[in-house]
Structure formats: C-alpha cells, structure tokens
Symmetry: C2
Subunit: 440 residues, 2 copies
C-alpha cells in the first residue's frame, strides 16, 4: 500500500508515524514544502525573544529521525501542486515528479491571513506563520529595527508583543476590535489590556488602511491615526490552507476541509487532519475550524489509525488554549459569553476575582469567568492571572465530558495552600451560578 | 427552629452559614471546643516553618465575623459532652448548660491517632492535630530543640519534615511502611524518598516501640534502632472524632458516622459532615472515610442546605490531594494501584517520566502514574515533579465524571510551551494504556 501525506507538520507526521507503527510494511510518503518537519510554531515567540536559541529546537524530531527510526519516506522542500485520483505531482529540487497513492492525507496546515491594505512591495512587513524559517526573518528584522508595529492581538500578536519588547524594542499593537484577544470576553480582556499597556502602545478599535515608505515600511496608517515604524508584523489570524484540496474534496462552511470523525473527507480513501481540516466543536456539537497544535496532533493520530485500516473516532475539540503576557497567564476552554450568544445559547455567567491560593500566600489573584446555558450545562471557562493553567486543564476535562455547573461545584479538586484554595475559584464561580439555576 | 452544630471547623461553619443564608430567622448555634472557628489546619506546616507569622491567619474568618455578619450564635470553648433526643449539654466557662435543638449536626472532626508505645508522661512528644493552638506548642518546642524525630510520613509527616528542616533542625523521619506517603504507589513514593533523603534521616520499615527520657524525651526506640532527640512529633494519622456521636447515631465500617447523600445520619433530623462523617468514594462507589478539607466544606454545604429544608445531594469525593516537599510537588486523585487491587479491581497501569512542558524549557520533569481497570475505566492518577497540580486538577475532573482512558487521551488539554506539552503527559500515559485495552 502507498500512503501519501501532504504536509509534514504535527498532523502529517503523527499520522505517518501511526500508519507505520500499525503497518510497518506499507510505504508511507510525506511531502513537506519547507526544510523542516514536525515543526512546532507555538514556540516561535520564544525563539524571537531569544529564550530559545536555535530554530531546530522547535522541531520535536528532525527529518533523519523519521526516516531512519520510523521508516517514513520524508520528502522535504517538496511542493505538491497537483492532486488527482490515485496520484499527486510534486516539485522537488526544481523537478516535477508523479507519485501514486492508495490513501491520501491532507495535512496542509494554515496560512497567515493578509490585510486589505497593499504592502507586498515594501520591505520590513512580515507575517508570522507556521513556516518556522519565517521566524528567523522576523527575528533578524526585529533586531535591526527600533519601532515595531504589530497588527492584530490574537494570541500570536500578544505573544509577539512580549517577545519583541523583551528585545528592547518599542512596540505599538494595533487591534481592530475593542479589546485584545477578541475571542475572550471583555472582563478577561480588560485584565490583559491593563497589563499590555504597561509594555506597549496598545491601539484598540483601529483598522490598518495603508502602509507608507520608500523601499522599507516607514509608517502604518489606520482609520484614526498613523504610527512611525521600521518594521510591521502582520498577525491578523490564519486561514486553512486548502489550495490543493479545493475542488478535489469538499470544504465545510468554515472553509476548511470537511471531515467525519474518522477524519475521512468526501472522497474515499482521502483524509484530512490538522489546521486544514474541520472537526467538531465539542461544546456546540457542530462542525468548527479549530487550528491548534494539540487537536492537530490528535487528528493526525486518528487519521493514521483509520488509514492503517483500524477504527478510531475523533470526538472534536474545545479550542482550549493558554497563553501569557509577561506575568499574566490567560486561558480559555469552550465558548466565551459572546461566542455562546452568537451560537444561539441563552447564557448565564459568573465573573469573579479572587485569590487562586490560600490568602496567606501573596501574589495569587485570578480572574475567572464561567459561562453556562440556562439548564446549567457548562459552555466555557476563561481565566486570567495566577494559577490559570490548572483551572483551564480542569475546565477542559469537564467540558469534554459535557458537564454542568453542579459537576463544577462538586468535582473534588485537591486543596494545598500554596497552589489552591479550600473553596477553589472554579467552585466559587459554580456556586454563584447555583442561584441562577435554582440550586439552593 | 433551633439548629445545633457541634464543631466549628470547616464543615460546621459552612453548614451554619448555609442554614442562616437560607433561613435567616432560624436560631443557629455552633459549639466549638477551642477558641477558634473556621480553622484551616492544612496551613499548620506553614506556620511552623515561619512562612505564616500568626496563627489567626490560618482561620478564614474569626468568631466575630460569624456572629455579627452571619448572625450565627457561636459558642467557643464550649465542650459538648452529652447529646440526647432534642437536647445537648455543653460545658462553657466551667458551667454546664442544656440547649434544645430541632436539628443537629455532628461536625466534630478528627483526632490524631496515638502510638501503642507509652509516652504520655514524657515532655517533648506532641501530635499535630486540627486544634490549631496545638501548632503554637509544636513550633515553640521545635524552636528550642535540636534533634527532632517525626513519626509517620503521611502528608502531615512529610510537610512537617520540610517545615522543621526549614527551621534549621536535624530531623529523623520514622515510617513503618516501606515508603513515605504509603497511600501512593512505590514508583511515585521512590521520587519523594530520594528528595527527602537530601534533607532528613529517613528510616523506612521501622516501628516505634518505646520512648526513653527522664522528664523530657531523649530517645526514640524502634524495632531496629534508636534515635536521640529532644522532641518527637507523632503524625501517624487521624481517626474520626465520634465520641459524642457513638451510641446516638450509627457508625459505618470505617468508624466514622454513617450518612446518606443528604448527610443524614441513622437518626431523623440528625446530620453529620466533615472529618467525623463517612461519605462515598466516587471511584469505588462505596462508603469511605475521606477526612480532607475540601470534602469537609462541601459536606457542610450540603448538610446546611438539607437542614434548611431544601434538597441537595453530596456525590462523594476522590481523596484528591496535593502536597510538596521542597521543590517536589506530589499529588493523587482516586486510587493508587495497590489501593485498587485491595478493592478487588483487576488493574492496568502506566508509569511514565517525561517533561511536563516543552523540551526547550528546563526543569520540568514529571513522573506520572495512571491506573485503570481492564475495561479502561480510570481508577486513579498520581504524579510527582513539576506541573503536578494542573494534572491532578484535570484528573479529579475526569475521575469525578467516571471517565475512561479514551477520555483521558481525547480531552482537549491546552498547549502552551512554558507549562505544557503538545502531547501532555496525561495523554501519553493514556496512549500507553490503549494497547492494553485494544485501542490501536
């Protein structure tokens, strides 16, 4: 059997490894357009800030490992530009080659979104994307710049803002929405806003309309003002990379490739996994596009098992995420209140600010928001402050299991004064919601 | 209505507050034998080490707060010595007084276990118990001693060992079992053992048989050796404090007061909550005695709601716990492997040692053990190292919801390089168990 996998990122390499583990005698080919496989772009901000010295450290394993230890036929710098029934054509070292496949996986990842403003001709304007070579360029340019504008304050924008201020540069962050991390609710975003304003010039509710400069960018113009700079980083989000898949397999509403729980596409023997694929949002039960590293790996795992002829179902994801800005941790699992309302839920919510550990330990404030529907079913949990990761881990587990406010209250969270409280913030928030759903 | 509550610890004060919140016009009396209410003995080691300066800081609220803000009739230094149908008799300021009740709650907590060896006549031998005044004595004695023997290495023994070495004293810990924290499995306990041996003289598999000294303890004798000391701390566990309840209400197999999920005892209008009460072990589904702070508070909450004439059910607890010894965090939720075997389960387990965060962050090893039954149902999770609290929080949520190995694998835990991994240790351990339950 010939297995072809397009894309050597998290999903692709996990699927390849899985097929090879279950079917050692099958031929598993991976076509990766860059020189790196198993790259983990989540680490890019830590490379830019200098915390991680070498780009290679961001790759879990190198190409040789996959070739020699796992027996995977990895093709790097191989750009697939045509896919048809049972074959694909790739360009490698300037030459076109045709490969046959019995089963195919799209693991083509995502692409950085652009802006409406024109900027391709100017130097010094860069996106952060999942090609980790790009991180080297971003860092090189940042080191020789003084004033840097970051456009967008999703988690990549926020993490880059920290990374670049750590390099000693002046940073302006321009965000179209009224708050940073717009997927979060206003209460949580306000905490981040206050923290960001200590380090960067944060411009909210502004839309970039143009760039000015001779050869190199010199100014970013918004609908409200203008900002001098010698570098601009575009971090306004990503979109599924479906160029080759489009027309060959069906896409979903989100624009990502439609899949079922076995990661099968609309075409027999063709699978999709990772940032290019749709999956189920566990909270809503509806198809969603959730381009995050952990779901990508698990989708790849499930795709690999099914491609190998076994059966395993991917239940979907919660969009669980954690990030930080300097000392402030921020995390979210499931839906924010505004996302839940947009999905048609009638919601109840509780927002609290409290110590995350015993009061005789300093420095442990946590801001926590729990969102549920009127029956008490949990829809999402957001947090900012200290002790965020442990609460978002617990929230992910409860949301995954379709839990309600009563479960959140009664889950037996351990108490240890340095890290938690006898009435955990999660439990306090649940108790606040008791009144709203008629629990005494 | 007259409500009488015996014991002003976590369970008692929570129940009292709950009744008063739901029934402001009812008379709620609390009888507490010490001068403190709402005391949180979990903080005692932090007081002994000097981290917490004043004992009062260990009490969430003081007596006046409960009296004036919550309208609870708190009697401190009030020892209840007789309970009958509809009445109790307490000794207060040397006088006996009789009080009538319509509903009664036993929240009498636990007592430190003693040793078979005789030691009452010798000075310098102390227990750590939930009377926080006792913490002051322990600290005073420790400060004037040089060689201190701690008997027992449950979590109180372990935490006291750190606290007292932090005071610069020489500490010997004597444990009857072959490992510290005997409720944990050997793999996890071995990590703790190695860490403890850096700071204390840890004597495992030794049983204390006698104490020697004139007026003050001078030597602890075990079945194998003897240890010079000028102070000994007995921390060999606790037992339910059921002296007054015994004979009036039924006790369970564990020796604690038998309750149903409304915290009702065998006698109408009589309730029990906290360390003196039995509840359900969520993993086994059987009655168990789980004397920990968080369950005590929740039992108190449920008892209060039901005493107020409403209905709320306590689902039980997981014995979730976290502790630490210097830099090593240790935690557990549900059953260890040997506990599961003792309960009659046929078990599978996975023990792994791995980074708890991305490999380009230093200093993040975690040792993790997952125990399940042969169907894949999760029975318990233990961890030692870094990032323990977040994994035990997640484990608690999954165990509370009766989850299996597949749920552990597919829960969408968030990835952020400084705190977690794209394949979280929990997920890796789950994947290891896939083979054993036939998941490809």
């Amino acid at each position: 059997m010939n297995i072809a996998i397009i894309g050597g990122g998290a999903a692709g390499m996990t699927a390849a490894s899985r097929v090879k583990a279950l079917r050692p005698d099958w031929n598993v080919m991976v076509f990766e357009r860059t020189g790196f496989v198993s790259h983990a772009p989540c680490g890019i901000p830590f490379y830019v800030s200098g915390f991680v010295e070498y780009l290679e450290e961001l790759c879990t394993y190198d190409v040789n490992y996959f070739r020699s230890e796992r027996g995977i036929d990895v093709h790097t710098n191989a750009k697939v530009f045509e896919v048809g029934d049972g074959y694909l054509i790739a360009e490698e070292n300037g030459k076109e080659r045709r490969y046959e496949w019995d089963k195919l996986l799209f693991a083509t990842g995502s692409k950085a979104r652009g802006l409406n403003a024109k900027y391709e001709e100017l130097e010094g304007i860069l996106s952060v994307n999942d090609n980790i070579m790009n991180a080297e360029r971003v860092k090189r340019e940042a080191l020789k710049s003084e004033n840097i504008v970051i456009i967008g304050s999703g988690y990549i924008g926020v993490e880059m803002a920290e990374a670049i201020t750590r390099l000693g540069k002046k940073v302006t962050v321009i965000e179209m929405a009224e708050r940073p991390l717009p997927e979060y609710d206003a209460e949580i975003a306000a905490i981040l806003k206050a923290e960001m304003e200590k380090f960067v010039n944060l411009r909210l509710g502004e839309r970039v309309v143009a760039f000015e400069g001779k050869d190199r960018v010199e100014k970013v113009l918004t609908n409200k003002s203008e900002y001098k700079c010698d570098m601009a980083i575009v971090a306004v989000g990503i979109r599924p990379n479906t160029e080759i898949a489009k027309g060959f397999v069906e896409l979903g509403k989100s624009g990502a490739i439609k899949t079922n729980s076995r990661m099968e596409t609309s075409r027999e023997n063709v699978y999709a996994a990772g940032d290019c694929a749709e999956s189920i949002n566990i909270v809503t039960g509806k198809p969603d596009w959730i381009p995050l590293a952990t779901p990508a790996n698990k989708m790849g795992y499930v795709a690999g098992v099914n491609m190998a002829g076994y059966e395993l179902h991917y239940p979907g994801s919660l969009k669980s995420q954690i990030t930080s800005f300097y000392e402030l941790e921020i995390g979210k699992a499931g839906l924010s209140e505004h996302e839940a309302i947009r999905e048609g839920y009638e919601v109840i919510s509780s927002f609290i600010t409290t110590k995350s550990n015993a009061r005789y330990f300093i420095d442990g404030l946590i801001h926590l928001k729990v969102v549920a529907d009127r029956s008490g079913k949990l829809l999402g949990i957001q947090a900012a402050g200290k002790g965020v990761a442990m609460r978002i881990y617990a929230a992910s587990a409860l949301l995954y299991r379709g839990s309600n406010v009563r479960d959140l209250f009664f889950t037996d969270f351990p108490y240890y004064p340095p890290v938690s409280r006898v009435w955990d913030p999660l439990v306090v928030a649940a108790r606040n919601l008791f009144r709203k759903i008629g629990i005494p």
